[in-house]
């Protein structure tokens, strides 16, 4: 131990280390050690790239009509064939990535912000507030999220924006409940009590003590939620309540394709495969993340 008198010598006389650049690649490395997760991450990255560069990558304008090529099977000119009014399926599929991505980000944003907020508030305040909010969440949870989303779209009117909104709102209860559960364990921890004994403000405690410790749960469930969001929006579009034609959205394409299932199998197959592949990889990634953040769930 330094002598106490020495401890008060001018601080300038000594070098205070600067904060190291605390970029942590540990988590990423761990994720990469899961083979499945690695491929899924690569695939999703590819999807994002396709979405961003859609105008360059797509062979045609997605809404361009080829009157001389209606319901064409896959060929050299149209790699994935054309639909009943002569639009190129591949181009529509590529532009569909954009819609799918923006839908998931938008819906995710709503769920993430509102769910985290409600969950944390419920856990932190507790008592009556917790009871009232959580009972409302319970009522909403009792309905399948797609039914809830249907109801919301029915009220707001069918459009892609409303579908995103509906999917986002419908997933808040589940998310809030998860965050509340995670936050409750933190609330009873020693460091929150220590914070209170120090006299920290509520917002500080929530931001600095709760948030860093729920990030693991947050990341895992947001990832898993992306899959649900994509699926639900596609479902809403499929039944005509989401993206409206001629928007090239995968659910809408699937819905249009189902009428020609016997004559033109490619119309429904490729959008279906695309949805499946993306949701699959998102879910696999989510599972791997769960293992990374919670070593106990391994096995």
């Amino acid at each position: 131990m330094t002598k106490l008198s020495e401890a008060y010598k001018p601080i300038q006389a000594r070098s205070i280390p600067k904060a190291p650049l605390n970029v942590k690649f540990d988590t990423l490395k761990k994720i990469m050690s899961y083979k499945r997760a690695k491929y899924c991450l690569a695939f999703l990255f590819l999807i994002v790239i396709i979405g961003v560069f859609a105008p360059i990558l797509a062979p045609y304008n997605p809404n361009k009509l080829f009157y001389d090529a209606l319901l064409q099977p896959p060929s050299k000119e149209h790699l994935l064939g054309t639909d009943a009014i002569g639009r190129d399926t591949l181009s529509r599929l590529i532009y569909g990535v954009r819609v799918t991505l923006s839908v998931s980000v938008f819906a995710l944003g709503i769920t993430f912000v509102a769910g985290t907020f409600i969950g944390l508030i419920c856990a932190y305040i507790g008592g009556v507030v917790d009871n009232i909010l959580m009972r409302i969440m319970d009522i909403l949870l009792a309905l399948p999220s797609i039914i809830l989303a249907l109801a919301i779209v029915a009220i707001l009117g069918p459009s892609l924006t409303n579908a995103m909104l509906a999917v986002g709102i419908a997933s808040i209860p589940g998310f809030a409940r998860l965050i509340r559960g995670a936050a409750l364990t933190i609330k009873s921890s020693g460091y929150v009590e220590a914070s209170r004994s120090i006299g920290s403000s509520h917002s500080w405690i929530l931001r600095r003590q709760f948030l860093p410790n729920v990030t693991g749960v947050l990341i895992v469930y947001t990832t898993l939620f992306i899959g649900v969001a994509i699926l639900d929006t596609a479902a809403l579009s499929f039944i005509g309540l989401g993206a409206q034609p001629p928007t090239s959205e995968w659910g809408t394409m699937l819905s249009e394709g189902k009428d020609y299932l016997y004559e033109a199998w490619w119309l429904a197959t490729f959008p279906g495969l695309a949805i499946t592949a993306v949701v699959f990889s998102v879910n696999f990634l989510g599972d791997a993340l769960r293992d990374v953040f919670d070593p106990k769930s391994k096995g």
Partner: protein, 319 residues
């Protein structure tokens, strides 16, 4: 004696123990009429077995648990009547060190962030933060090279040093130490105890030292209070109590301290029976079912605190 820094009068904490909505209201008296005084630069030890309410007492002093009744006078001001905002300001003067340093520190924050928390909470200008943190780290025997490490990178003793640093960084008047060394190895315990004593001298701190280990308490405290089932049974100068414990419970506790000299003849008082449930405490003197001197008076009447041989004791034996 001049006016004390901290005066606790008849502190009481009841917890509601209601098993179902239809049941009659039941209460557990965790702390029942505890009074104590703490002077400047003094250490008072609160000892007792687990469940006797010593930690609850400590937490009540900081209003981490709201006391049900009683007064806590800090420099003459009753802190139980302060608003939450005023109380938060006053927390600068009364800080706490917790038992398990791993538990009491957020594993996701660096030492620098952990130690800035009190500074941010009490609005110390940001320019002074680093200097204060490094000085405080020096005081507890750590250095600036530890600033950006995480709690799990430290040993138990170092971690408790950080816990102490966090408590003293605001230069409080009183530090409540809740079993600060019971999670540590014996060799590390003595280092931490020495550190606490050095800090007391250097910074003029007053300690409330909560522990179940009389051997540890003997080292560091000036006065000692023995608690049993939420009540103070004996309180006074350390020397007097260790030389001649009066309350039968204190006698039993002191006889249980291991002696270093194997030849020393010692009489070990073995208490029989279990610690009664605080939700259904015995009548009269709460200690009577386990006391070897118990009489009929003990079973019916509650003993009052009395001044006996230079200390206060609550026992019918000394009427």
């Amino acid at each position: 004696m001049t006016t004390s820094l901290l005066q606790v009068r008849d502190l009481e904490k009841r917890f509601r123990a209601q098993k179902s909505f239809f049941q009659a209201k039941q209460y557990v008296h965790a702390v029942n009429g505890v009074s104590l005084e703490l002077n400047d630069k003094e250490t008072i030890g609160i000892v007792g077995e687990s469940g006797c309410g010593k930690s609850t007492t400590g937490r009540c002093l900081l209003r981490l648990i709201e006391p049900t009744k009683g007064e806590i006078l800090f420099q003459g001001r009753d802190i139980t009547k302060l608003s939450k905002v005023e109380m938060n300001k006053l927390r600068k003067e009364i800080q706490m060190v917790f038992q398990d340093p791993m538990e009491s520190m957020n594993p996701k924050l660096t030492i620098r962030e952990i130690l800035s928390e009190p500074l941010i909470a009490h609005k110390i200008p940001k320019a002074q933060h680093v200097e204060l943190i490094v000085k405080t780290l020096d005081l507890v025997g750590l250095s600036e090279k530890h600033l950006f490490r995480y709690p799990h990178e430290f040993s138990g003793g170092q971690r408790q040093r950080i816990g102490i640093a966090r408590a003293i960084i605001l230069r409080p008047k009183i530090v409540v130490l809740d079993e600060p060394v019971s999670a540590l190895d014996v060799s590390v315990q003595s280092q931490i105890l020495n550190l606490l004593q050095d800090l007391q001298e250097e910074l003029g701190l007053s300690y409330i030292f909560i522990s179940h280990d009389l051997g540890v308490v003997q080292h560091i405290v000036h006065r000692i209070g023995v608690m049993y089932l939420g009540e103070m049974v004996e309180i006074g100068e350390k020397e007097k109590i260790f030389d001649k414990p009066l309350h039968p419970y204190t006698q039993a506790l002191i006889s249980a301290i291991p002696k270093s000299d194997p030849d020393e003849v010692k009489e070990r008082i073995i208490l029989t029976g279990e610690l009664p449930s605080p939700s259904n405490p015995p009548s009269g003197c709460k200690f009577h079912p386990r006391c070897m001197y118990a009489t009929d008076t003990c079973r019916s009447a509650k003993p009052e605190m009395r001044e006996v041989e230079g200390r206060k004791v609550a026992c019918h034996l000394y009427n």
